[in-house]
């Protein structure tokens, strides 16, 4: 047993604070929006040009001109605003967004992240990920601890081309939570997922982490 994708999203949602402006990446991070705690007012930013992202539309009410960064149809909220891409990335690069939750192919023990290309295979591109990890105040990486072959994705050093250096503050995987905030250089295991043993985490983690 380990955390499901929904469990991981729910755990990440606990990091949301009242008044936060948050950018959620494509994939598991998108699910975080379903777990925003009661009484916590967060504003979701979509880097294609919207603050205050609303839920999916009812069938028949979709608008091709209103999508999120994953190209999914969405809706507005009373507080929503639209803007161009330069303004959107002024928010991101300029440090005006409180939290970015994004997926990862690899994260290294020093906070490096790789999530945009696999050399030799198709390169899809980084989209806004490099800007997000460079500019947002706090970055949480949310990913499956191992790949399909069971190999660790939490490494001493990334093997894939980097998205950003020394920029990930917290890691949430299906096995647990790892934190390097408060001036720490190394990640510390702070929570273990239900039904997961410390030995399993140690066996599946190549990064040098503080366990205690």
């Amino acid at each position: 047993m380990s955390w499901t994708r929904d469990d991981m999203a729910a755990r990440a949602a606990k990091e949301l604070e009242d008044g936060f402006y948050v950018n959620l990446g494509i994939g598991i991070p998108t699910l975080v929006a379903n777990h925003i705690p009661e009484g916590v007012d967060v504003t979701l930013q979509s880097e294609n040009g919207m603050l205050g992202m609303g839920p999916f539309p009812y069938a028949g009410e979709e608008d091709a001109d209103l999508i999120n960064a994953g190209k999914q149809t969405i809706t507005t909220l009373p507080k929503s605003s639209f803007f161009d891409s330069a303004t959107s990335f002024a928010m991101i690069r300029g440090g005006h967004i409180d939290l970015s939750i994004l997926g990862a192919m690899e994260v290294a023990e020093n906070g490096d992240i790789a999530n945009w290309m696999i050399p030799g295979k198709m390169v899809k591109g980084m989209g806004g990920a490099m800007d997000l990890v460079a500019g947002v105040k706090r970055c949480i990486a949310l990913f499956d601890h191992t790949n399909k072959r069971g190999e660790s994705k939490f490494l001493k050093e990334c093997t894939l081309p980097l998205t950003g250096q020394n920029c990930i503050d917290m890691v949430i995987t299906d096995l647990g939570v790892f934190n390097r905030e408060g001036g720490q250089n190394r990640f510390r295991l702070t929570e273990i997922a239900n039904g997961v043993s410390l030995d399993e985490i140690k066996a599946k983690t190549k990064a040098d982490i503080v366990y205690e």
Binding site: D65, I67, K71, T76, F83, A86, M126, D131, A134
Partner: protein, 237 residues
């Protein structure tokens, strides 16, 4: 001199040539100038450098110009939705320059605003930084941070899509269909806008114009298909 043209083809007449650089607005298939892309294809201009956040999908958007091999080089941030693109790129038939999305937006904005280059921390320590000038600046805490220089981008032609426009070239965009278009309007030597509706001069509130007419040389009203890439809905409870 009237800026208003009757068809997308007329709106591009006399301004398309081989080897030119074209900026094309849109994010995914949202806010792309569908009719002007078709007219650009029909112009036959080839060896194009296309600057656009994405490369369309097979058979739609900029995918049309990839099918006809009119594009020599793409400057984009994400191209993951196009098989023909993948085939041409892996086969060495197509050049590709990736830019982080925010860097791409700012390069276009800078180009249009008369700024030849700027420093950003996006991409420091990655492949994107290779061969670029690095410079250190203190941050607000006095710590030294490294930045890389990125250059402004301009285009011979920008083709964009807006919601409403008038004969003066003033434009209003709808929802998230705005994305890169306002900056591309500034960065094009010639900017051609297609709009859902051309409205009479004076009917757009000057307080709410997104792109002032000085940035738009030609305008055409044209109907768009507006294809949806990911239709996501919720159930009524």
């Amino acid at each position: 001199m009237s800026k208003v043209y009757k068809t997308a083809s007329e709106a591009l007449s006399g301004i398309c040539h081989d080897g030119m650089t074209v900026m094309s607005g849109g994010f995914g298939l949202c806010g792309i100038p569908e009719n002007l892309i078709g007219a650009l294809r029909d112009s036959g201009a080839k060896n194009l450098t296309a600057i656009s956040n994405n490369a369309g999908v097979d058979g739609f958007g900029l995918g049309l110009l990839l099918e006809t091999r009119q594009i020599k080089k793409m400057v984009s941030s994400y191209v993951g939705e196009n098989k023909e693109f993948e085939r041409q790129y892996l086969g060495g038939e197509l050049e590709l320059e990736f830019n982080p999305q925010g860097t791409l937006a700012e390069r276009i904005r800078a180009g249009g605003a008369g700024i030849p280059g700027f420093y950003t921390k996006t991409g420091v320590g990655t492949l994107i930084a290779e061969g670029k000038e690095h410079k250190e600046f203190p941050n607000e805490n006095g710590d030294i941070e490294t930045y890389i220089m990125e250059t402004g981008l301009k285009a011979d032609l920008s083709i964009i899509k807006a919601w409403k426009g008038d004969a003066a070239g003033n434009l209003v965009f709808k929802a998230t269909a705005r994305n890169f278009s306002p900056m591309m309007a500034m960065a094009g030597k010639i900017t051609v806008a297609e709009v859902d509706e051309i409205v009479p001069i004076g009917s757009l509130d000057p307080n709410f114009i997104h792109t002032p007419g000085v940035f738009v040389q030609r305008i055409v009203e044209a109907k768009c298909e507006k294809r949806i890439e990911q239709l996501t809905v919720r159930e009524k409870v």
